[in-house]
Structure formats: structure tokens, C-alpha cells
């Protein structure tokens, strides 16, 4: 969709290229994160796409069309452009800000009004409250959302985003990232996303382009970058804790133990109790006929009870969803001090369990740099 062919940029008055012979291709509908140390040329590379910076040599094309041959104003109007919060026009209301490109493209009033409302709702901002506010009357996060939907206003197929969440504190940044990924699920734009935050890159990117002083060092999926760093520089850049970073990438469903042992509400307490005794189970999950999770029972209470399991079932308050990432699951387990967490779907159906051991083993698959496995380690002390 967007292709870079031997793209170079030498700023006038300098002799070291800011971008040096870069070639790669961003497929349609994907987020490509451009990352690298400060001054490596991220902004330069991005701004050559909409020709805010003239290219020195090479070709950048969108859908096979060389951008240098397109009308520059038309080109820019066809590309969503979002920069840090400061890029909102302070003298315009939220409405006018979002309406900027639609107006340049001469949309009629009704269409603009409907679109503005639609976009505000998309990012969870009540149109009646926010429509006529000025940027200074918004929080940082709200301003950032407006910046993003302004870029989406005319539904352009391509978007350029230069550190769009850069000015936001880490907690709100996570929220905005999640929200943006949800939107991207629906709109499927081809996005060039500049950041210097490796976490953000791993989370947001379908592909990551890692630059070092103007050269493209590795262009890969986040997984590829973490598992197969091409050289020392990449390894250092993604960080020594790259195994931990994989927790961001992997989903609960990738690591959970499926079809965990459980009983049903209507089961006889004595039978279940006997089974638990034989299998050394202290606790047991309880579901109903539809496999919907209802909670758990403990053996201590169950033994000697005459009746159904459902008389003694206790609710299970802490669960995770299969689509959550492992980092969220682990942090839930750590903050509630539990060694096991149950996985249920949106309807509460029991899908599996996740414990610290399964979780770490998934991460550990690629973790040992020597490539070997330690084998079983016991607690027998010195051999």
C-alpha cells in the first residue's frame, strides 16, 4: 500500500543523510510503527510521505502512485495527519477543528455536522458537551482524542501519526492506545505511527520499522523483533526484558490450560467430595449445564454435606477474558495475590485457567538465549 523504494534524505547544508536508502512496504490496513533513538530520522521519514519534507532521492508511493507526482494539496487532504496535542487549532472549537479537512473538501454542512457527532461518539465524548468547547477547555487526553478523530474526519485510507500520544501520562496513554486499537479494528486504516516508546511500538504495531541513524535496521512484526533481533543494536533497543515484553503480545487464550477440571451445580456433594479427595483437590470450579462459571467449592466445606454442590458454591470475583494480554492477567494475579485465575468469555462461560507456571512457560519458550532447556531442577541442594 505504502512503499518506500531506496528513499534517501540529505538536508541542505549537511552531508550525512538523515534517511539513507530505506526500502520497505507497508501492507494495506496495517499499523507500521517507525521507531528508533532520537534523531534517527523517524519524523523525516514520515513527513516525506505527505511531502512536508522534500525527498532527496528514491520513490515513496501510495497504492502504486508516486507521491512526488501527485498534486501536493490533494495528496495532503487525502491523508489523515495527527501530531501531538499542540496541533489542535486553539482558536477553533472542537467542531471547527474536526471540520477542517471536510470544509477544505467542500462537504455540505449537514454532512459535516453528522460526521463530527459520529466521531465524537466514537471516542466516547458526548457531542452535546464537547462540540463547542475550545481546546484549552479539554483535558490532555480529550485533546489527544480530538487530534486523532480530526485526522479521521474524511475517512482517509492512510494516516500519519507522529507521537500522537506522546504528551500523555502513561496510564492515560494505555487507555488511548486501547481505544485507538479498537477503532482501528473497525476502520482498518493504513497507518504510519512514529514513536520512541518501545512498549507502544510493540502494542500498536502490526509491523515495526527500527531505524538507526537514517538506516532501516530491521523491519519485522513485534514478535519477530523480540524473538529474532537481527543484531546487537536491535537487541539493546528492544531491551533486556524483551521476554517480559512478550507478555504484551501474547493473549490469555495462548497460555491458558483449556477444559479445566470442574463440576456442575447439580452434582451430588458427596460424589464430588470423594473425587476431590482422590485427586488431592482442595478447590474445584463449579459451572452449570451450559458450562457457565458459577464459582468454586472447597473440599473442607463440601465433605460431609448431603445435597447438591450448588448449596455451597462461592462466587468467583476475579476472572480474565481470553482476548486480554498476559501482562494484564499477570498484573491481576499479582495484585490480588492469587496463583491462578479463571478464564471466562463475555457470557461467563468457563474456558480455562491460567496459573503462573503455564504463564511463564509460554514466555520462557523463547527466553533462554543459549537455546537449551534446563531440565528439571529439584531442591536437593549440592550434588
Amino acid at each position: 500500500m505504502i512503499t518506500f523504494e531506496r528513499v534517501s534524505k540529505i538536508y541542505p547544508g549537511t552531508n550525512i543523510p538523515a534517511i539513507d536508502n530505506v526500502r520497505f512496504e507497508v501492507p494495506e490496513g496495517e499499523i507500521c510503527v517507525i521507531i528508533g533513538p532520537s534523531g534517527c530520522g523517524k519524523t523525516t521519514l514520515m513527513r516525506m510521505i505527505n511531502r512536508l519534507i522534500p525527498i532527496t532521492s528514491g520513490v515513496i508511493s501510495i497504492k502504486g502512485q508516486n507521491v512526488s507526482e501527485m498534486d501536493v494539496i490533494k495528496l495532503r487532504r487525502s491523508i489523515g495527519y495527527a501530531i501531538q496535542q499542540i496541533g489542535l487549532f486553539p482558536h477553533m472549537t472542537v467542531y471547527d477543528n474536526i471540520a477542517t479537512v471536510p470544509r477544505l473538501l467542500k462537504w455540505d454542512k449537514q454532512r459535516i455536522a453528522a460526521r463530527v457527532d459520529e466521531l465524537l461518539s466514537l471516542v466516547g465524548l458526548e457531542p452535546d458537551i464537547f462540540r463547542f468547547r475550545y481546546p484549552r477547555e479539554l483535558s490532555g487526553g480529550q485533546a489527544q482524542r480530538i487530534g486523532v478523530v480530526r485526522a479521521l474526519a474524511t475517512d482517509p485510507p492512510v494516516m500519519l501519526m507522529d507521537e500522537p500520544f506522546g504528551a500523555i501520562d502513561p496510564i492515560n496513554r494505555e487507555v488511548l492506545q486501547d481505544e485507538f486499537l479498537r477503532i482501528q479494528e473497525k476502520v482498518k486504516k493504513t497507518i504510519i505511527f512514529v514513536t520512541h516508546d518501545i512498549h507502544e511500538a510493540i502494542k500498536m504495531g502490526d509491523k515495526i520499522a527500527l531505524l538507526e541513524t537514517g538506516r532501516l535496521v530491521q523491519y519485522d512484526t513485534p514478535e519477530g523483533l523480540l524473538v529474532n533481533p537481527k543484531n546487537r543494536f536491535v537487541k539493546d533497543f528492544v531491551g533486556a526484558d524483551r521476554a517480559l515484553k512478550r507478555l504484551d503480545l501474547l493473549k490469555v487464550k495462548d497460555a491458558m490450560m483449556q477444559n479445566p477440571v470442574h463440576c456442575h451445580m447439580e452434582d451430588d456433594a458427596e460424589v464430588v467430595s470423594q473425587h476431590m479427595l482422590e485427586n488431592e483437590l482442595t478447590f474445584l470450579l463449579v459451572a452449570d449445564q451450559n458450562e457457565k462459571l458459577h464459582g468454586y467449592v472447597n473440599h473442607y466445606e463440601l465433605k460431609g454435606h448431603h445435597g447438591k454442590v450448588k448449596d455451597l458454591v462461592r462466587p468467583m470475583t476475579i476472572t480474565v477474558k481470553p482476548e486480554q494480554n498476559l501482562k494484564d492477567a499477570l498484573s491481576k494475579m499479582l495484585s490480588y495475590d492469587i496463583g491462578i485465575v479463571v478464564v471466562v468469555d463475555d457470557d461467563g462461560k468457563l474456558l480455562g485457567v491460567l496459573n503462573t507456571r503455564t504463564l511463564l512457560s509460554v514466555v520462557g519458550e523463547t527466553y533462554d538465549e543459549r537455546g537449551g532447556v534446563w531440565g528439571k531442577i529439584t531442591s536437593r541442594g549440592r550434588i
Binding site: N50, I86, G87, F89, P90, T100, L104, R136
Partner: protein
């Protein structure tokens, strides 16, 4: 009381002089705005021109006003307008330029480059960036320059009477010649009232024109 007496005796003349004064200053300010603002915009795109223009305007400001009026007489008498309201208006326009040009230039230059970048990046043409982004954002500083120019011109306009342009300066000069205290005071107070009143009106206009989004909370 003496002042009050003077006013009741001469109110027709006072109104005439007030009108002349407002007329001269008004014409001068309108011309100054319609030349100063475009010049200020133009030099904000042209560094070399900026240096030269601001330098010249600075020099004009340092010429004492009474001398400037004096200079106007021989220069404009070539065109047959040596004395009267024409040289007065020309001199006032020259004076009013500096604050207007300087503020326009500074205001346009001061617009955050990131915001301009956003406009250009979204596909605004150069003139759209100027009209939709730079000027609206620069407006309050431009207004501040215009208000300085207006107040200054009303004050300096009093000197125009010296070269026969009329206006409230007439009372001041005549009063001084005749050591007529009340006449001086009426002239001076009227000038002050006009300055304060016009500045207030410009303040109201500014409030209407400058976006609420730019006002500090």
C-alpha cells in the same frame, strides 16, 4: 467651574473641533491599518524586508512629532498640500505604522510552528493557513498594536493644529498663546476623553473578534 463656563459658551466650536480631530485621526488610522497589517504580514515571510522595514519605521518613530509635521509642509507643498489636513494625515499614518507593523509581524511570527504544521499537513494552501490559522491566532496582538497606534495618534493629532489642520490642538495652541487656562484644559481633556473612549470601543471590538479559545481562563 471656569472650564464648565467655557464649554457652555463654546460648545458648538468644541464639537466642530472634536469632529475635525476625530476625522483626521480616523482617516489616518484606517489608512495605517490597511497598509501596516499587510506590510507586517508580508515582512513575516521575508526576513530581509523585515529588517529594513522595521528599521525605517523605527527611525520615523524617533523623529519628534512636531518636526515631522514641519517636514511634511515643504514635501507636500510640491503637490499643493503644504498645510491643512493632508500633511497631518500623512504624518499620523507614518507614526501609526510602527506599532501596527511591529505587532503584526511579531504576532504572525509567534504562532506556534506545530500548529501551522498541522494546517499545512492537513492540506491547507498557504493563504488558507494565513487566513484560517495565523491571522486569527495573531489577532489579539495585532489589536494591541492598533490600540497603541490609535491612542498615540489621537494625542499626536493635537499637534496637527499647528500646521493648520484644525482639531482639538487648536484650543491647546490658542490657549497657550493667549494664556487662557480654561481653553487649554478643555482642549487637553477632550483629547484624553477621545483617546480613552476610542480605546474602550476598540477593546469591545477586539473582544468580539478574537476567538474565545485564545483568551486565558
Amino acid at each position: 467651574m471656569e472650564i464648565w463656563h467655557f464649554i457652555t459658551q463654546n460648545w458648538r466650536e468644541l464639537i466642530t473641533l472634536f469632529g475635525e480631530h476625530a476625522y483626521i485621526v480616523g482617516i489616518a488610522i484606517i489608512i495605517a491599518i490597511f497598509t501596516g497589517v499587510p506590510i507586517g504580514i508580508w515582512i513575516s515571510f521575508n526576513k530581509k524586508a523585515a529588517e529594513i522595514v522595521l528599521y525605517i519605521a523605527g527611525i520615523i518613530m524617533t523623529v519628534p512629532s512636531i518636526a515631522l509635521f514641519g517636514i511634511m509642509i515643504p514635501v507636500l507643498s510640491i503637490f499643493g498640500h503644504g498645510i491643512g489636513s493632508v500633511p497631518a494625515v500623512v504624518a499620523l499614518v507614518l507614526y501609526a505604522q510602527l506599532p501596527i507593523i511591529r505587532n503584526t509581524y511579531a504576532a504572525i511570527k509567534n504562532v506556534n510552528p506545530n500548529i501551522i504544521d498541522a494546517g499545512v499537513g492537513m492540506g491547507m494552501t498557504r493563504s488558507q493557513v494565513l487566513l484560517k490559522v495565523q491571522l486569527p491566532m495573531a489577532l489579539s496582538i495585532i489589536f494591541a498594536g492598533v490600540r497603541v497606534a490609535v491612542v498615540m495618534s489621537i494625542g499626536i493629532g493635537a499637534i496637527a493644529a499647528y500646521i493648520g489642520a484644525g482639531g482639538l490642538g487648536h484650543y491647546i495652541f490658542m490657549g497657550i498663546n493667549q494664556t487662557y487656562d480654561a481653553m487649554i484644559k478643555v482642549g487637553a481633556i477632550s483629547v484624553a476623553i477621545m483617546a480613552i473612549g476610542v480605546d474602550y470601543i476598540f477593546g469591545l471590538i477586539e473582544n468580539r473578534l478574537v476567538s474565545k479559545g485564545l483568551r486565558l481562563s
